[in-house]
């Protein structure tokens, strides 16, 4: 167990650093959507019905994404988890950005995704997982069921990480000269399904409610299990 912990702790750090770097790179690349010139991604899509609506959705999506993924990364850091008030407010901002901007704009954009219907379904599935998991994440946090809360918000982080992993896969497929549409579909579906499966595998199989506060009155005291977060090794910390 101790050995696994030794391995998983730096691995978790590496994953978070890679996601943060990927998020920054995506945000930097997305600045092109706010200039006067048409970005290559936009050029590929044109002509579009309701072009202005699509462009607005794209801009809302990239601005929301530039908040949501870094927000989720910060929320998973021990330094934030140990500060309940900060964690709560950052969580509220991130949840609002996800549910009011990221998911709705992403769902609209998915109708015009490269790769046709399979691609649209893939993006919609990812969006549905994010929305459901975020709602459940908020509900469980409010109910102070923090073990469940962690599982749900991990699903959110995992699906948001698809933005980074799918681009990395696209790059690898292009280097191997794989057919563009096939590469696009595989680079979407594999990270979406694998991220979901990974969270389910690493999360506790049963819903542990031993730490649920018995009082129904909400307080502003620190969460009961607000100790340094472990993103991956839930199973190591399971009771018994």
């Amino acid at each position: 167990m101790r050995v696994r912990s030794w391995l998983l702790t730096p691995l978790r750090g590496l994953v978070l650093v890679a996601l943060a770097a990927g998020s920054m790179a995506i945000t930097a690349a997305s600045l092109a959507y706010f200039g006067e010139e048409l970005a290559p991604f936009v050029l590929e899509k044109l002509p579009l019905p309701l072009e202005d609506v699509w462009m607005l959705a794209l801009r809302v999506h990239v601005v929301a994404a530039s908040v949501c993924l870094p927000g989720c990364i910060l929320l998973s850091l021990g330094i934030v988890i140990r500060r309940p008030r900060l964690h709560r407010w950052l969580g509220r901002v991130t949840a609002a950005a996800v549910l009011l901007a990221l998911v709705p704009s992403g769902l609209y954009l998915s109708w015009f995704a490269k790769g046709g219907a399979p691609s649209t379904v893939g993006f919609m599935l990812s969006g549905a997982i994010v929305a459901t998991a975020m709602v459940q994440g908020v509900r469980t946090a409010r109910a102070r069921r923090f073990v469940e809360h962690r599982r749900w918000v991990l699903h959110v982080l995992a699906q948001l990480s698809v933005a980074v992993t799918s681009r990395a896969m696209l790059f690898a497929f292009d280097a191997a000269a794989v057919d563009e549409n096939l590469a696009y579909l595989v680079s979407l579906w594999v990270p979406v399904v694998a991220s979901f499966a990974l969270v389910e595998l690493l999360s506790p199989r049963t819903r542990i409610r031993t730490r649920t506060v018995t009082s129904t009155r909400r307080t502003h005291e620190a969460p009961v299990d607000a100790r340094p977060a472990r993103l991956l090794p839930y199973d190591l910390r399971r009771a018994g």
């Binding site: 770097a21 010139e37 590929e44 696209l170 790059f171």
Partner: protein, 155 residues
Amino acid sequence: MLALLAFSHTTFAEPASGPAPAAKSAPARTAEAVVRRDLVQPLAAKESSRSRFSRASLPPQERRVRILDEQPGKDAEGVAFLRFAVDARHGFAADDDESQWRLATIVGCVYLDRNQVFVKKGDEYRPAAFLLGKNVKAAAETTCQPAQAQVAHAD
């Protein structure tokens, strides 16, 4: 995967001569030069500074121009043009591997008299500047359409 992304270096799309036919007409040679100068080279230069971290198609390793007509055709206004296609090579395999080439990733036509290059997007033709990011409007419906084809279409 991320390491690959971070440390890989791509050679950006440079115009390639490709397997050129043995003999090309003078208009075809001129048209090819115009397409290289006004489309392929500026596109490669633009792509060299472009972020790879986008969902847009990644820039190819190289491009080659094929002029599809030996002699110019004429549109409804009687202006001569030649059609062209641009192939793109992706991947890091040897450039003589024909399977690495995606054919006709860009198609369009060149008006030699006017020194104008148009590219097809959807059902419309737009000035080549469109692919360089300029928000230019679609050209007239007669652009790049042989006069006979338009008569047939009208029928």
